[in-house]
């Protein structure tokens, strides 16, 4: 039985970071935080095997979620190349599976998020198999 994998939360908004971190904590999963796409990529490159799921905000300074995803998908190694990336965004444009998959992401959850949705994702991607 392998240990449950971690979540990488890439989010620039402080309130959201705090809330998400609290919920994920409560759900009993380890979470690492990146404040923008750039940091997100660095974290992934550092410990590519640690993460079962990347929760990716879209609109962020320095490097957006879309650009960061593109970079990750072009990495030579897997992991991190094929890590699950879920868009977490308030932008309705991305509330569409066909749109996010075009950008190389595996799905989306709309802000405001619900704990139930998050729990479903954790079960799916980070579960101890």
């Amino acid at each position: 039985m392998a240990a449950a994998k971690k979540i990488l939360l890439v989010e620039d908004d402080y309130f959201t970071r705090f809330m998400m971190q609290e919920i994920i904590d409560t759900l009993g999963i380890d979470v690492d935080i990146a404040k923008n796409g750039q940091e997100g990529c660095e974290r992934l490159d550092k410990n590519p095997g640690d993460y079962g799921l990347v929760l990716m905000d879209i609109h962020m300074p320095k490097l957006s979620g879309v650009d960061a995803t593109q970079i990750i998908r072009q990495r030579p190694n897997d992991p991190p190349r094929n890590v699950a990336i879920i868009a977490v965004t308030a932008d309705e444009h991305y509330h569409d599976n066909s749109v996010v998959s075009k950008h190389g992401m595996d799905g989306f959850i709309a802000k405001p998020i619900t704990a139930v949705e998050l729990n479903g994702l954790i079960d799916r991607y980070c579960g101890a198999a």
């Binding site: 908004d13 309130f15 959201t16 919920i23 932008d91 802000k111 405001p112 619900t114 704990a115």
Partner: protein
């Protein structure tokens, strides 16, 4: 060669001679004693068998015997021969007597056919001439044997020839006098019958001697009455002294004639305007006056003057600047409005060229425009941006080029000041583009707004959920739930307000795609089921899909779903118990050619809507029942948005009146033209 040159000279006068020959009865006329007596005399006095007056008619290649004495047949009857038989032509050509002793050995005529055919051997010819000295023919004496003509012979024939010439001259004089008499009488009759007045009066007494019909008619006097009158009597504007003084210049010969306008008085005392030309004929010592009644002309002049005056006042007072310019744009006339436009007084404006006032880059176009004007299409108009008197103006210049004898001579121009119109237009254009820009800004703002509000709300709601999940007292969980519900409400409100704004800002794009209707309907049903489950009311939810519904429809899945979720939410919210049914089908249409429509209805057994309030549900912020409002939260925007979206997709959203035997209270139907 010598002869031919002379003939060519003769030919120059052929027509004139021919006319006069016929007119003088010298050719093609019966023989007359006028000439016969001379040929008879010649034969007798010279003792020759034949004497002729032969007129040489080069044009008809013949000689005509105006008179012939002793000539044999057939020539005597024919009275002419071709020029091949003519000795006389040589007399005419040289206009000299021709003396031939023996034709058979004479170099000029040795091959002449008259030697053989008319038996001519000796010949003596004297020219006969027209009054102007031209030789017309010859008086000739002919002998059938060789003869040496004596000085006496030649002298006699010369005298007789002179007499023939005199006879011709007499005839010509008679003819001239007859034709001039005829012409004079024709002219006199024309003068007599002319509508103009023609007077002759004596230079000394001034009494009329001859007055034509026109004058008698106009004045109302007969000729006898007029002979007692002088021009002064019929010219009320002249005294005797005035008239004498006036015509003195003619008498002294300092001017050849006088032309003036005055009035003539009729016998009945009435007057009329006349134009007079007066001459003094010194030969007859008579004055001749040619008088024209200019009543009509005066009327026309008056009318013209009136029109000119009214045009001038129009020109003077028109608010539009008007100019008349030469083709080089030198201004010749300008109205006060032009003076104001140019900011120049009339004396400074006249003589100024217009061209420098035209912006340099427009000048070639304007010059081309004027040069292309034709008498058929003399108009040219142009819009110019000009600085006039220091003020920038937009002026439409309408020009007409006037042509004189086919050449452009003047440009008439009227300016229409459209400065304000153009400013207004520019302003309108800029405000239109500003409005468009504002719309763009609004679209961006709405997109940002949605994002910016959702983000903190996301944190708030997440934290409320966190509290619910935590191990805390039940009371706090309840507090967190209310906080979460309030947040939900706030979010719903926000979403709807933004959505409506976006629809209004045309920021919603419809993206129709072929869509599987049945699976889409299943999704709607699932969503409604979840809501139904959450609300926990005893409602039986069902989905009915008509068998005739096609598999695929072209529609914007997201927008249709948005409407359907809204409708099922409403139905479930306002129904306490009973049924909510989603029906999908095709609109049954009797008109086959009409486009097919998809109809999606949501019916419920809820509180119903009063008939007179049916349309009100689509207004903003409306919930029909205030009491229900507290119970059923909602922004009151859902149906307004849904209808806007339906219209945007070319469809319609209506609330229909269920039939009395229908167990449903309310049915909302969405119709879409979506089949392909």
């Amino acid at each position: 060669m010598h002869v031919r040159v002379d003939r060519a000279c003769q030919e120059c006068g052929i027509y004139a001679m021919e006319t006069s020959l016929t007119q003088l009865s010298l050719v093609d006329s019966p023989a007359t004693e006028d000439f016969d007596r001379f040929t008879r005399l010649a034969t007798r006095m010279l003792g020759v068998p034949v004497a002729l007056v032969s007129i040489v008619d080069f044009d008809k290649d013949r000689q005509f015997f105006t008179s012939a004495c002793g000539l044999g047949e057939p020539w005597a009857s024919q009275r002419q021969t071709p020029l091949t038989h003519s000795f006389c032509q040589h007399v005419v050509a040289a206009n000299e007597p021709l003396v031939i002793e023996d034709a058979r050995i004479h170099p000029l005529v040795s091959d002449n056919l008259a030697i053989r055919d008319l038996n001519v051997v000796a010949y003596l010819g004297i020219p006969v001439t027209a009054p102007d000295g031209r030789a017309l023919g010859a008086l000739c004496a002919i002998d059938t044997r060789r003869r040496a003509w004596s000085e006496g012979d030649i002298s006699i024939l010369n005298d007789l020839g002179g007499s023939v010439t005199s006879q011709i001259g007499l005839r010509a004089a008679l003819l001239a006098s007859e034709s001039s008499k005829k012409a004079a009488s024709q002219f006199g009759s024309a003068v007599e019958n002319s509508h103009h007045e023609v007077f002759m009066f004596e230079a000394d007494t001034l009494k009329f001697t001859t007055v034509n019909k026109g004058a008698r008619f106009n004045l109302g006097y007969d000729i006898a009455e007029l002979r007692e009158l002088t021009p002064v009597d019929i010219k009320p504007e002249f005294s005797q002294l005035d008239f004498d003084t006036y015509i003195e210049r003619l008498r002294t010969g300092s001017v050849p004639n006088l032309e003036f306008e005055t009035k003539h008085a009729r016998k009945d005392g009435s007057t009329y305007p006349v134009s007079i030309r007066l001459e003094l004929h010194n030969d007859s010592n008579m004055f001749i006056a040619f008088v024209e009644d200019i009543t009509e002309r005066r009327k026309l002049e008056k009318a013209l003057a009136k029109e000119t005056a009214s045009f001038l006042s129009f020109f003077q007072y028109a608010p539009e600047p008007m100019t008349v310019s030469a083709m080089d744009t030198t201004i010749l006339q300008a109205n006060p409005a032009s003076e104001r436009l140019f900011g120049l007084s009339s004396e400074n404006l006249l003589g100024t060229q217009f061209l420098p006032y035209i912006p340099e880059d427009s000048r070639p176009e304007v010059q081309l425009g004027f040069s292309q004007a034709t008498p058929d299409n003399p108009f040219y108009s142009v819009l110019l941006e000009q600085v006039m008197n220091g003020i920038p103006k937009s002026l439409i210049w309408s020009n007409v080029v006037q042509f004189e004898d086919g050449k452009p001579s003047r440009i008439f121009s009227i300016a229409n000041d459209v400065t304000e119109l153009y400013e207004a237009k520019t302003l309108a254009e800029s405000s239109a583009s500003e409005a468009k820009r504002a719309m763009e800004i609004r679209k961006v703002f709405l997109a940002n707004m949605s994002h910016e509000v959702r983000t903190p709300l996301n944190a708030i709601m997440g934290l409320f959920q966190l509290i619910q999940m935590a191990d805390v007292p039940e009371r706090q969980k309840k507090q967190a739930k209310v906080g979460l519900d309030a947040s939900h409400h706030l979010l719903a409100q926000l979403v709807n307000v933004l959505e409506l704004s976006r629809v209004e800002a045309n920021a919603v794009e419809i993206e129709p795609k072929p869509t599987d209707i049945r699976s889409l309907a299943e999704q709607w049903f699932e969503t409604a089921s979840a809501t139904n489950h959450r609300l926990g009311k005893p409602i039986e939810l069902s989905l009915e899909i008509d068998e005739t519904t096609p598999q695929l429809a072209v529609l914007d899945e997201r927008r249709v779903t948005q409407i359907l979720n809204n409708l099922t939410d409403n139905a479930l919210k306002f129904t306490k118990e009973g049924r909510v049914t989603i029906q999908v089908g095709q609109v049954s249409n009797t008109d086959v050619s009409a486009p097919q429509q998809l109809e999606i209805s949501v019916s419920d057994t809820g509180c119903g809507i009063a008939c007179n309030k049916r349309e009100a549900v689509f207004e903003r912020f409306v919930q029909i029942d205030d009491a229900q409002t507290r119970e059923n939260s909602g922004s009151g925007l859902g149906l307004a948005i849904s209808r806007e979206l339906a219209v945007l997709m070319g469809g319609a959203l209506d609330v229909t009146c269920p039939s009395p035997d229908d167990c449903y209270a309310t049915t909302f139907s969405l119709r879409l033209q979506s089949f392909k």
